[in-house]
């Protein structure tokens, strides 16, 4: 006889028992010990069929191949640039991955990307020791110019984007800003100063209230009246 002890979207703490019995399967951010499944983080419970997983309410970003992130150039080497990824691990952007055009050997790399420049990149490789390679070769990956960069907890990124990008589209439309959300929690907002400030506040509001239902309506109301 198996028993589930939590319901959908219930808040759980690390170590909380989620289910007893072998009929349930431990999903992300949970673990099994004997016949019990426990949570491994502070988060919201999600049950799909027999699988129980926890959506964290906070937590560090884990670099994944294919993720689009925003990084900052911290150093320039012979073969490319060192990039701060807003995690414990920096990434390398190799010269060959920086642009589609040919870069001559004697070219001054700082003319292409200088220290403290922010860039939008894709993660193309992560090793077990978290050595990261990034690339700027795909469409939309570029050096950031103008606007502002803000930081949110990376666990809140899906909420800021919304289902089928509904939330971020709403903010873009209402504020007239271009917005690029990095999976590492850095977000680039480009628009009028007023629009940028409103978008920033809306995103911060989502970060703070990500666990609540009816968030889209709240954000809409804020963007309608809050400026």
């Amino acid at each position: 006889m198996s028993e589930i002890l939590i319901e959908e979207r219930k808040i759980v703490v690390p170590g909380e028992v989620l289910a007893i019995g072998l009929d349930y399967v431990p999903g992300e951010n949970t673990y099994r010990e004997e016949d019990k499944i426990f949570s491994k983080v502070l988060g919201l419970a999600a049950v799909s069929g027999r699988v129980i997983k926890i959506t964290p309410l906070a937590g560090p970003y884990m670099p994944k191949v294919g993720d689009k992130i925003i990084g900052r150039i911290t150093d320039i080497a012979f073969s490319g640039w060192r990039v701060d990824t807003n995690t414990a691990y920096s990434a390398m952007l190799n010269v060959k991955d920086a642009t589609t055009r040919f870069i001559k050997k004697e070219e001054d790399l700082s003319k292409i990307l200088a220290i403290d420049d922010y860039i939008i990149v894709d993660i193309i490789n992560v090793t077990s020791q978290r050595l990261i390679d990034v690339s700027m070769r795909e469409l939309g990956l570029k050096k950031i110019q103008g606007g502002r960069i803000i930081e949110i907890n990376s666990q809140k990124v899906p909420r800021v984007i919304g289902k089928k990008a509904s939330m971020i589209t709403l903010i873009k439309e209402k504020t007239g800003c271009e917005i690029t959300v990095g999976q590492n929690g850095l977000i680039w907002i480009l628009g009028s100063p007023e629009g940028e400030a409103a978008a920033e506040r809306a995103i911060k509001m989502i970060e703070e209230k990500s666990h609540l239902s009816g968030l889209t309506e709240q954000v809409e109301a804020f963007l309608r009246g809050g400026r």
């Binding site: 808040i11 703490v13 690390p14 170590g15 028992v17 951010n29 673990y31 426990f38 491994k40 983080v41 502070l42 988060g43 919201l44 964290p56 309410l57 906070a58 937590g59 560090p60 884990m62 995690t87 414990a88 691990y89 920096s90 077990s128 020791q129 978290r130 907890n153 666990q155 666990h211 609540l212 239902s213």
Partner: protein, 243 residues
């Protein structure tokens, strides 16, 4: 038995009033405040982040590093000289050991998670309050943990086994006129909630084996109360507000 009635009127197993909350330091990845009586600990978590000096890095997993500090005005006597000392270094070390068994940093090789605990005011039980606050701050930061750790001190004051000693109870021979020759022991404990395993165990004073085991039993119950306060505070921030 002379210490029948506790100086502040509490029952033997009764803790001082507790107050806890999380998200008290916006700059930190996670933070918590934990008050028990007049002892107050604030904890902030930074990381996982790059570790300096580099040679400390562990390629197999991230490192947990705790710091403990009493603010210069937090002692009940003279001002405390700021900065690290032997006492604060030892407490930081036992704090780290008390939390390490539940923290899982296997996904963060070569990094460090720093936990800073500061005490603005104290009345005994500071390392326990520090550990309880630190465990909450780690959970608030979203650090993977197999469980929470809760901490409180138990002990004996003049033949009576009690939970959560105050400064006056640790020095009962000074403050209770009938306890001038009293033997006192102070036993800070920390425990993992599910397994009831001890992750901190120290003692100052003198005690027999029988009394120690009784005290530990009392401690286990006392720690449950701390755990309840920690859990409530961790969840409180996420309860749906009534509209």
């Amino acid at each position: 038995m002379v210490y029948k009635q506790r100086l502040d009127g509490r029952k033997g197993d009764e803790l001082r009033p507790m107050e806890a909350k999380t998200k008290v330091i916006p700059n930190a990845q996670g933070s918590a405040s934990f008050k028990i009586g007049k002892t107050w600990a604030i904890a902030a978590v930074y990381g996982p982040r790059e570790i300096y000096p580099k040679f400390l890095a562990n390629p197999k997993r991230g490192i947990l590093r705790c710091y403990y500090n009493m603010m210069p005005f937090s002692g009940s006597g003279e001002r405390i000289r700021p900065g690290s000392n032997r006492r604060s270094q030892e407490i930081a070390m036992v704090m780290t050991k008390a939390l390490e068994p539940v923290v899982d940093l296997s996904q963060y090789p070569n990094s460090v998670v720093d936990v800073f605990v500061e005490l603005p005011q104290t009345d005994a039980g500071t390392r326990c309050a520090a550990i309880s606050a630190a465990a909450m701050a780690l959970a608030d930061a979203g650090i993977p943990m197999k469980d929470l750790v809760s901490s409180v001190a138990v002990g004996m004051a003049d033949d009576k086994i009690i939970a959560d000693l105050t400064y006056k109870e640790e020095h009962i021979y000074e403050f209770n006129p009938e306890s001038l020759n009293a033997v006192v022991s102070d036993i800070p404990l920390a425990m993992i909630h599910n397994t009831k395993e001890l992750t901190l165990l120290q003692m100052d004073g003198e005690i027999t084996k029988e009394d120690l085991l009784k005290a530990l039993e009392l401690g286990q119950k006392a720690i449950e109360k701390v755990y309840a306060v920690q859990v409530k505070a961790l969840k409180e921030n996420f309860i749906e507000e009534s509209k």
